[in-house]
């Protein structure tokens, strides 16, 4: 249930009934997602989606953190 899947926002619909809906792609699958909890999300952003709701916009810079650490480890190694 805490599975959050990263998906790419493909489109954002006009608000209806106070809901901000969009479509997001997860690999080969496109699904409707609620974007109410991520008001800053734009088309092209990746969002973590949980129970049909995007709960965060993935920070592309921070997503590289573990790979930067790996590089630093390599440079530090004799």
């Amino acid at each position: 249930m805490c599975l959050g899947i990263p998906g790419e926002v493909l489109s954002i619909e006009e608000e209806t009934q106070g809901l901000r809906l969009g479509r997001a792609r997860f690999g080969g699958v496109v699904r409707e997602v609620s974007l109410d909890l991520v008001p800053d999300a734009q088309v092209g952003d990746y969002v973590v989606v949980h129970a049909g709701f995007a709960i965060s916009v993935i920070d592309a810079e921070e997503a590289q953190a573990v790979f930067r650490l790996l590089e630093e480890m390599e440079e530090a190694a004799p």
Partner: protein, 368 residues
Amino acid sequence: MKYLDEYRDAPAAEKLLRRIKAVVTCASGRRARPWVVMEVCGSQTHTFLRYGIDQMLPEEITLVHGPGCPVCVTPVQAIDQAIALAGRPEVTIVSYGDMLRVPGSEKDLLSAKAEGGDVRMVYSPLDAVKLARQNPERKVVFFAIGFETTAPANAMAVSLARREGLDNFFVLTSQLLVPPAVEMIAASPDNRVQGFLAPGHVCTVAGYCEYEPIARQHRVPIVVTGFEPLDLLQGVLMLVAQLEEGRHEVENQYTRSVRREGNRQAQAIMREVFEVADQKWRGIGLIPRSGLRLREAYARFDAARVFGLQNLVSGEAGVCISGLVLQGVKKPPECPAFGTDCTPERPLGAPMVSAEGACAAYYAYRKA
């Protein structure tokens, strides 16, 4: 898939493992016993076991599995309430799929469905609202369970139903909060957990400020961690580095999704609909202020109240030791019923059912 596959890279995982080994070796001479580390979330448990990471970690690190499996800790009384509602001809019960096979005191929701109950499965709580809108003659009850991750979605569903004036939509809630459970484990007199990997998606919503006093007071390092193999290895590395250095801070490994203050929109909708309350955890018992209940303004959506089910009494299966498993005291194979009387096909306890349950993970990946 982007943001999944790259965190499953085997050579990168091996580098992190070597680094972990280098860090713990420094202290193994003066410490006779391994560091005991708990991953709080059941999805993290599954990743550890699926990829065999628990077996690759050096023997100076022992992993124990935590209570972060929402369907496992949903009180049996709530399941019995859902089953009782499914027995009413005018009611449609709508649930997350995980919940259908979790045993109540006598049966599960799937059996209630087989007996003629109208039980539906949805992916999003908004689908439950849609069902209520499309079927005005039915009383639609959404079984709103979960941790901080599902609470905003469940709250949105209630808020939407109120805005639309739907009078046939209700929620049966069992909403739990993670930090009080971590605190309870850390404060327990026989606690052996020395550091926690905190759940990345719960913290995406709620932030991690609440873990800071727990880390300080109980002198345990806590690292907010993601769910993929490289996330978990980096989380373990950060935690072990703290343990070796004698630090006990809250650190964030899962920075691509988690900010310290969490998701403010999600918190706002949670606060609008729910208030903090004492909460029973299945197998564990009552933990003060560890749950959410509907605010008085939303009482008319409260299925337990509307249908008069608050006083339903429930019992547990005797042999199941899920409470000890969920607190990291025992591992699933230590249960006498594991893999014999209790299997995913015929589960005695919830952790054998769920995709996040520790018993199901051991059954899937470790049963010889």
